[in-house]
Symmetry: C2
Subunit: 514 residues, 2 copies
Amino acid sequence: MDDVAHEAKHDRRGREARRAARAQRSGVSIPYITRNSPLVEFLNEEGLAIIERNAEILLEEIGIEFRDYPSALKRLKDAGCDIKGERVHFPRGLAKKLISTVPSEYIQHARNSERNVHIGGKLTVFAPVYGSPFVHDLDKGRRYGTIEDFQNFVKLAYMSPSMHHSGGTVCEPVDLPVNKRHLEMVYAHMRYSDKAYMGSVTHPDRAQDSVNLSKILFGEEFIQNNTVITSLINANSPMVWDNTMLGAAEVYARNNQACIITPFILSGAMSPVTIAGTLTQVLAEVWAGTSFVQLVRPGAPVIFGTFVSTLSMQSGAPTFGTPEGSLAIFGAAQLARRMKMPFRTGGSLCASKLPDAQAAYESANTLMPTLLAGTNFVLHAAGWMEGGLASSYEKFIMDVDQLGAMHVMAKGIDLSENGQAMEAFREVPPGGHFLGCAHTQANFESAFYRSPVADNNSFEQWDSEGRLDHSQRANKIWKRMLAEYEAPAIDPGTDEALRDYIDRKKASMPDAAY
Amino acid sequence: MDDVAHEAKHDRRGREARRAARAQRSGVSIPYITRNSPLVEFLNEEGLAIIERNAEILLEEIGIEFRDYPSALKRLKDAGCDIKGERVHFPRGLAKKLISTVPSEYIQHARNSERNVHIGGKLTVFAPVYGSPFVHDLDKGRRYGTIEDFQNFVKLAYMSPSMHHSGGTVCEPVDLPVNKRHLEMVYAHMRYSDKAYMGSVTHPDRAQDSVNLSKILFGEEFIQNNTVITSLINANSPMVWDNTMLGAAEVYARNNQACIITPFILSGAMSPVTIAGTLTQVLAEVWAGTSFVQLVRPGAPVIFGTFVSTLSMQSGAPTFGTPEGSLAIFGAAQLARRMKMPFRTGGSLCASKLPDAQAAYESANTLMPTLLAGTNFVLHAAGWMEGGLASSYEKFIMDVDQLGAMHVMAKGIDLSENGQAMEAFREVPPGGHFLGCAHTQANFESAFYRSPVADNNSFEQWDSEGRLDHSQRANKIWKRMLAEYEAPAIDPGTDEALRDYIDRKKASMPDAAY
């Protein structure tokens, strides 16, 4: 290469590197994972058929309750269910028929269309921790979450390329009144990120506020025809759906927005103490909840959700990252595929009170099964700690690093000519060194996943740098990210309209309703 | 139940509990895992055929070196290889033919026959960390290993029901002269445990000492017909076998003892920077090393070994628990099955200098792929830290806990009548609680895996108990175990004969040869 060509190439590389660095800073994401990894299936056809048969028996003979929601009972009765009080008995085959209108794949739009997420099939979308009343960091320890913490987690998710979705209740902003909280939460996702988000489910009116704000952001016509909100609709297990969740689900479904219909189960307390029994209940509860949603609006997007923790038989506490939890993940994913529904489970779950080895073992033992099971929507993919009671700043960073690694594993093994690397063998003799060979030089930038948190240096270097552990390095990273955060642009008129809606709504409410 | 029957049942339960507690104290193991879990396969037939074809090209066109070992060159020449200096070229198909005599399954006997391990097929055997010069614990930090540390790790492995094998160089006893070290290491496995063990490979004479000591322990006739030693034979990658390793392998093979033929690869330095390229080299190196062993004694047990770490492209340091490492594990397992050979890889590998979250993420990301890939012999299953430079007391305890969890995951989902739990649903109505129902009461003792290290208690209880992290709890456990250790009985005459052999051997050597 002559000097000029070399310089031109050098310049081009420099430009590319600077562009990549800018893109990284501005939070450009891989929009979602397209898996080339094999599906791991613990159940064979016979096992799946047993569970499906048992779930039919459960819904027909024992039934499921729809509480304090007469209109749901009426819909189900009209569809052919047998109703006794609030107990709903589904004739065999009915639930499976009612859920057959669920789309197997759909798009959730983000206000930045490059961040649209595709839900279903071979695709996997990661979303942050959801629902923790506390937050935790190494400096200030454990404390109730605030709207500032909420905004911080939205910002960290926005800046993390491996986090595809902005999530929902990334922590509970306990400093805001309960009746107004949802407005600032939804606004934070809209304003501090441009990734897809989740809506409020704590009251049908709050679900409607989420829809109304989304109409302002996306335009009324757009959301008639497109899904822009995901909502987390939990069963009151065992075998109860209540009016709060159903009411929120009805609002979202009516507006063609997505519901994750999720049995939330502490196995041994809220379901039988076995995996097969728990999976039976999961299927029955998803069938019933999804049937209701499809009766509201056939074709409304629904994700088959599963959240299974096991019970510590000594203390009664929930446990995470257990082998039984992994088996439930693998089994439920198969049931969802059998129903041709997108699937949500897993994440980076743990019971630990600290971002320590327990947190990491348990999270890794949840995350890898989540990916290998073929999960489509992964809530709690980063930041979850203490059984969901605390959103951890350090763990968010540590987990996002693991999500990056999962992107690479999901790609599988490259068998292209370049991947086969026969030219490297022709260049490097036995006993030689591959580092300097042309094939390595051409590939080394992208060859291996680089963790920004792990320390792989020598003991001596690590010692001279202060002997930081993994969580201490993560502490530095989230602080640097928040210091460097820049909000994505938003049309000022849209922003004003959002604030106007929120302020008028707040003014119409009592001052504080905790 | 009347009072007498109740009391009798109570008594029986008490006896059973006491017996179980005794068994636990005396270190009774599940001898090995029989997997019901599905095999996870990232490569299809076409991919496997590409890698096999490329490995054939590599061995034929580029060749592999057998250094400083003329008799190996002669054996290979006589078998049909083309030899140029020390470079050996295998005609296509020859290596695959030569290795076809490897048994696909075999038994490694332990001096306590209840601890015999079966190697191959659907079975998985866990063995401790191997080869670390340093040891680490929370009290004394990092320091060179001693024979006392070595004995301690043997004792901990003996007392851990989820650890099936006593392993080999559980740490390097640096306080003993190099030329005498192996004698005390092999003796420690024989005396302080009754599980199966590994022999010395640092010199053919030391391999012979390992065989001779085993003859004393098992009887000369027994070891003629049975395998009682496993040996770790590492390639000098890329594409070199050297005389030390080949010399040791020859001793073991001649005596019908097992060799793990293992490419030990830092990908990007000692192999191409891609997974497919690395797998090609793994297969070629295993083919060549195994061919030599089978020429020494057709039918001698050989395990297809693979150790692949990736290179940090910033620092040149080895990295562990990376997604590329997982892919190499999955791919190599498929190649081993294709060759109908037992497979060794993985473990609980990490680069961290501490038993922290990095250590746990990386170890979990190695261990689960190891199990799901269908690995038969898992070296480094517990205690590995700092890229193999340190054996950690706390991490040993933390990892063994994870091995216990893997036993449960490998069992799969129980679909028996009891597993289906339909009687529980018939007892507990919608909105009810399963904890008190008959099915839960009958199953709760064995229902869920119980981690002895994880803390699942409330924040308040954890706080009142001193806010210990995972590694601090592990610290208490290993100390308690060593305090409670009782050596398994050994015939005094046998013990005397072992000591006599060792003392005579030592007396015949120079005082200190470091």
